[in-house]
């Protein structure tokens, strides 16, 4: 049997990092070879992904095989009446995501050749780096929800190990990464449970786990809530956002990992998995409850995370909060349910452009942090445009993309697309929140930029990074500008299949000028407040109410304190009480426990 070229290529794309991860463990003695080999396996995926993208003609292509024959009958060898189908599914969304994931991961891995050069535990780093990429590719290309869930779990597990990468350090420096990793694993675990329960319901309804067979039948409200848990935890939306970035004072979050890991988590993998899941099921899952709840949660997190990014002084945390804000932006786009699926496409376009400019921003931040000896506090930076002129330029491109300046950056195109679509469909919530978020984004992006590069140096010793970092950043900066021009036009035609509708800019005056005005207002206000190298705004420092609000935001809205009081403490309390119960002393617990046990047995006997 001939295997089709596309299928073969997608198998190679997935297997190359997964197998390479295990081979790289064997190369422990030859460290230089191992590092380059690890980048090469991801590069192989990138090359095949590019070939798939070129060969792909726009029509969805499932490649399935049957396994796990679920036959019921007394005869073990009876023929199948129920099977589980698995396989790969190539459509425009998965092909595009594969391209994003592989190319960006390759660049990030290439960057970490220099960034992680002095790390002692690179063997572990490279293993999980490749496994991470492989898991994400499996998630993206999967046609059935078993493979999707498998990739989902691999991604979650690898993020745990990579966030906790520095746990071997002594004292507090080692304790925080370990706790951060555990926090990420447990909080995303909530979503895993919801997703697994959703799978069981979906299989019960349609007897199939293929993503394309998904329909909302009976119990759709209940299933929607279960399904909602998955993207909300994985993409760190409002109630469960604190694993990705907590308050400055708590400081236990995904930012404890190496900066390249943060770049990988934020740009290509992990948090994009939740967005991808919603984008994947969005045309099939028509339950309005799902989108209403998602819209409210995403609206809260867009504005809340943008405000939090205004307050924090940690460079990486500004970017982390901006990721949450931009992810909610994509969710908001998905909740515009119009007939032509313009909202869906706008969200996917923003997914693409956000991946690229966020990779650029995080790697620039990594280069800055690397060149000033792992210092992340922006209050100690300042005036670095003289020492790091190259990174100054590259980061400026990233910031322009993040703010969404029209015409010259890819973020501009996709952001305009979302706001315009919301305006045209009369979705006022998304429109207002979108414009407000555009204003806040400009405010915090310029604040971050001015605090790092302008003003006077506030006490950081700079040693310049070498070529690998500059080359990677340069490539990414070019892609940020270039991908904008193909986004609305060739790429949209390829993705939606409307080859006749070639328009470079879908221009609607009112939303365009409103959002442009919001961005300019944000830039102006930010320059007014921080332009001369200030680190604090005197208005806020002198006003008691504003200072109180600032402190609430700096504590991460007290979400971690709440979870600690509501979930963590009671579990430990129960454990302690049970532990006491096991000592053999007769006490009230013992009496209560035996009463409950006897009652349970009586009830069971009576019922059964």
């Amino acid at each position: 049997m001939m295997i089709e070229t596309l299928f073969l290529l997608s198998i190679i794309t997935v297997l190359s990092p997964l197998v390479g991860a295990f081979i790289s463990l064997l190369l422990k003695k030859w460290t230089a070879i191992r590092d380059i080999f690890s980048v090469l396996t991801i590069a192989v995926s990138a090359v095949t992904a590019v070939i798939i993208f070129i060969l792909f003609d726009g029509a969805p292509k499932p490649y399935d095989f049957n396994w796990l024959s679920w036959s019921a009958g007394s005869d073990l060898a009876s023929t199948t009446d129920q099977v589980i189908q698995s396989g790969f599914y190539l459509d425009t969304l998965s092909v595009l995501m594969t391209l994003i994931v592989t190319v960006l991961s390759m660049l990030i891995a290439f960057f970490s050749l220099e960034y992680m050069a002095e790390d002692k535990h690179r063997s572990r780093y490279w293993f999980f780096m490749q496994l991470f990429v492989g898991g994400m590719l499996l998630l993206v290309l999967a046609h059935d929800m078993i493979f999707l869930f498998l990739g989902w779990e691999i991604v979650g597990l690898c993020s745990f190990f990579l966030i906790a990468h520095h746990y071997m350090k002594k004292g507090e420096e080692g304790r925080k990464p370990a706790l951060s990793g555990i926090k990420a694993l447990i909080m995303t675990g909530i979503g895993d449970v919801g997703f697994l329960a959703f799978l069981a319901w979906a299989y019960l309804q349609t007897n199939s786990l293929l993503v394309t067979d998904l329909t909302s039948g009976s119990n759709a409200v209940f299933m929607s809530i279960l399904l909602l848990l998955a993207p909300v935890t994985k993409s760190a939306q409002f109630p469960l956002q604190s694993w990705l970035s907590s308050g400055d004072t708590v400081n236990i979050d995904a930012m404890q990992g190496p900066t390249t890991v943060s770049a990988l988590i934020h740009a290509a993998t992990m948090v994009k998995a939740g967005v991808y899941l919603v984008a994947r099921i969005s045309p099939l899952w028509g339950e309005p409850v799902f989108y209403v709840i998602l819209m409210i949660l995403a609206g809260i997190s867009t504005v809340g995370a943008a405000i939090a990014a205004l307050v924090t002084t940690d460079l990486k945390r500004v970017l982390a909060y901006s990721t949450i804000s931009q992810l909610s932006y994509m969710f908001l786009a998905f909740t515009i349910r119009d007939a032509g699926e313009h909202g869906l496409f706008a969200g996917q376009a923003h997914l693409l452009s956000h991946s690229i400019f966020k990779a650029l921003l995080f790697l620039s931040a990594g280069a800055i942090i690397h060149s000033i000896a792992e210092e992340r506090d922006m209050k100690k930076m300042g005036g670095m445009r003289k020492e790091l002129p190259w990174i100054y330029g590259f980061m400026l491109v990233g910031v322009i993309g993040l703010m969404g300046i029209p015409i010259i950056s890819n973020g501009g195109y996709s952001k305009e697309m979302i706001i315009t679509t919301a305006f045209e469909n009369g979705n006022w919530f998304v429109f207002v929140v979108g414009v407000l978020a555009a204003f806040l984004t400009a405010l915090y992006a310029i604040r971050m930029f001015l605090m790092i590069f302008h003003g006077k140096n506030r006490g950081a010793n700079v040693h310049k990074p070498k070529y690998i970092m500059r080359i990677t950043l340069g490539i990414l900066a070019v892609i940020v500008v270039a991908s904008g021009f193909v986004l609305e036009g060739p790429l949209q035609n390829k993705l939606t299949g409307h080859n006749e509708a070639y328009t470079l800019l879908h221009f609607v005056p009112l939303p365009f000028f409103v959002s442009l005005g919001a961005i300019i207002l944000g830039i102006g206000l930010s320059y007014l407040l921080y332009g001369k190298g200030q680190t604090e705004v005197s208005l806020i420092e002198n006003n008691n109410v504003l200072r109180f609000l600032r402190d609430v935001v700096a504590h991460g809205f007290y979400m971690d304190h709440l979870y600690n009081a509501v979930f963590v403490k009671p579990v430990f309390w129960i454990g302690n009480q049970l532990s006491f119960l096991k000592t053999g002393k007769i006490n009230w617990n013992m009496i209560l426990g035996s009463f409950v046990a006897i009652a349970t047995i009586v009830v069971l006997v009576v019922i059964v």
Binding site: S69, S71, A72, G73, S74, L76, Y167, R175, I574, S579
Partner: protein
């Protein structure tokens, strides 16, 4: 006559026993035993749900009967790994207390 529902109740009780053994215990070997009991409970649920007892005769789902065997084999490997970690930690720290090995580092 043992019915499907009896097996399910037994599985739930076993799961509770495993959870009780797990909670409030700091001896890592006892924790591993608790986890193993919980896995057995899940396997029992597989067996119970794969069985259909009717008056005409009993029906079995092939996969649901085979799965526990695979699960037990993998569980044995997992337990071997867990005990290996315990032994290594004991040589290093002279303790099997889970509170003292919470960071797993030198």
């Amino acid at each position: 006559m043992i019915d499907q529902v009896h097996l399910l109740i037994l599985a739930v009780i076993l799961f509770g026993v495993g959870l009780f053994a797990l909670l409030g215990e700091s001896n890592i070997i006892k924790i591993l035993m608790g986890i193993e009991i919980m896995i057995i409970a899940i396997n029992l649920i597989f067996i119970a749900l794969g069985t259909e007892i009717t008056a005409e005769g009993n029906k079995f789902t092939a996969l649901a009967q085979v799965f526990p065997v695979i699960s037990l084999a993998i569980g044995a490997a997992v337990m071997a790994l867990g005990l290996a970690i315990v032994i290594n930690n004991y040589r290093h720290a002279k303790s099997v207390d889970s509170d003292e090995m919470s960071t797993l580092k030198r």
